[in-house]
Amino acid sequence: MKVRDGVGLALVNLRKRKLRTVLTTMGVTVGIGALVAMISFGQGMEKNVTASFSALELFNVLTVFPSGPSAFGRDPDEPGPRPEATAGPAKVLDDEAVAAIAGLDGVEAVYPEVNFPALVGLDDREDLQLVQVIPAKVAATKMFQVKWGRPFGSDDEPAVVVGESVLRRLKAGDPAAAVGRTLRISSVTLDLSAFNPADLAAFLSGRKLPVAKEKHEFPIVGVVAQRPFAGPVGLQSDVFLPPGPARSIKRLPFRNVWDLLRMQDGRLGYASLTVRLVSPRDLERVKAAVRDLGFTTFALSDQFAEIRRGFLYLDMVLAAVGMIAIFVASLGIMNTMLMSILERTREIGVMKAVGALDADVRRVFFVESSVIGLAGGLAGYALGWVVSRLINGVVNALLARQGVPAIDYFAFPVWLPLGAVAFSVLVSLLSGVYPATRAARVDPVAALRHD
């Protein structure tokens, strides 16, 4: 039998049982659709995270923590990466350390993590925010994406850059219009002149603390767009000041008791340093050099291998869910084919009586099931695409209300449509194996018996 005639025969047979063929194909469509949506979601997640990591140049950033018991570097109750503690004498991250690291080959910039809680105000609204000090040099890099206005011109410019979310909390309205307005920053400082030793008991019980509030005003020169994924390491807050004006703000030299426990000989040092490298290639070398200086390091690229593994697991779980749908669809194909054999026993008998080989009979049924698979695969890919577009639209619409910019949560790599259709045909062929074998085994004498 010619291949074309075999296909023609199968198509005629499928057309004769339109409704059943359509229903079976729909089963495959749903299965492949689910699989495609699941896989494209996994792919999309991976692509987005990888892309935003590279866009923010996070692969050439190294975070340095002091060593020793202070290796935690940051508050133990603060979320975030925890580098392992190193042995040896504790070293303080002071300006000397900053200079030493800045002098290493391949280092572009080093800046300490300096931040302090402050009350931030615009017009009559106020909000508690962590103010972070960022050198102008760093503010000009990709890591720091100023969407409206501009970053600071110099380290001494009396200016502030704020995040979009701060403006929303302060009900400032249009972020573009916020550029040029004045932001109030109120900090808390020790006021020893208000400290009366006679009131020691009151001080220790917290009833009368020798502190005072200090108010400063800075023009907003730039607004940073909100990011769909967590912000980069080293940029943890939403209000940024250059070092010059930051120095003029009197504030407590520590943020909490953890900082005091970290203290060495009364020297506090910085909680951490952010080191920007010229290229990600220098990472390992600089990391080793910094460790030699006696500090602990953390690099996001170390985490990235783990993140990738996480995505592999995610993909596998998503694919497993899709596979359940495919399995159900293949049962549907098998059921349809077996039913069709029962109905067509006499026809199979005729095929054999007029000289069809067992292989011819098998082929007719294989072609029938693979046509279902092909149609289901194509329609399934289309369904998966449409559904993921819809979900993407809905999710983006919901997140837009929280100011998260729209992104594509699903990715459709080139291999996905080809793979989906090929897989669908393969599954259908496999589901057709048993029915086709049974059809080929039909006894023509019994099938053609007059009754």
């Binding site: 039998m1 054999k352 000289g355 080989l357 023509p444 007059h450």
Partner: protein, 229 residues
């Protein structure tokens, strides 16, 4: 010249542990170009004999030889090719495919023989013309009378130009006038094409009128053989 020969042909069915011999030690010979009728009561083994001659079934013992070729030596595919090219079969219940037109039914064997579409069409139309159905090519079996359906079945049996035609009660579902027409058609094929036709039938009278010889079976054995002309 002997064209069809059976040697000690035996077919035994095991039904619920009981051995039933449908055919036992049947030795028969038919010349090329004969029109033979096989008669006998129900269960005498007529249909079994035809299925064995047509290569649809395999004997328990003994062998069938058609045109000098022993069927016992053929494997499954060999037997299928034998059915495709060497023999045509016609059944009591026509066994047409209900969803295919008369022409498509006749084309069906040509499909497996790998004949191209245009050639299939031409041959099907010519065969239907030869059995007197030139005006019914596009009709479905359900739209045809019993006699017409059996003519389509005969045309189908002839599609791959076999030399042997086996007809199992071809008139069993037809009225007497139509029955006569069908047997006449078969007899004509023998006369005009030199076809060898073996026909299982209940109808003594028709057999006597048209067949050259009559073989009667009883309980799976040959009970008698009569050459009429």
């Amino acid at each position: 010249m002997v064209f069809v020969r059976t040697r000690r042909l035996t077919k035994v069915y095991s039904l619920a542990k009981v051995r039933v011999a449908a055919l036992e030690d049947v030795d028969l010979e038919f010349d090329a170009g004969t029109f033979a009728a096989v008669t006998g009561p129900s269960g005498s083994g007529k249909s079994t004999l035809l299925n064995l001659l047509g290569g649809l079934d395999r004997p328990t013992e003994g062998d069938v030889e058609i045109g000098g070729k022993a069927l016992a030596g053929l494997d499954g595919d060999g037997l299928a090719l034998f059915r495709r090219f060497e023999v045509g079969m016609v059944f009591q219940s026509f066994n047409l495919i209900a969803t295919r037109t008369a022409a498509e039914n006749v084309e069906f064997p040509l499909l497996f023989a790998g004949v191209g579409r245009a050639e299939r069409r031409t041959r099907a139309f010519r065969l239907l013309d030869q059995v007197g159905l030139s005006g019914r090519t596009g009709h479905l079996p359900g739209e045809l009378s019993g006699g017409e359906q059996q003519r389509v079945a005969i045309a189908r049996a002839l599609a791959n130009t076999p030399r042997l035609l086996l007809a199992d009660e071809p008139t069993g579902n037809l009225d007497s006038r139509t029955s006569r027409e069908i047997v006449e058609l078969l007899s004509g094929l023998v006369r005009e094409r030199g076809l060898t036709v073996l026909m299982v039938t209940h109808e003594e009278a028709l057999a006597r009128e048209f067949a050259r010889e009559i073989v009667s079976l009883r309980d799976g054995r040959v009970a008698g053989r009569e050459v009429l002309r």
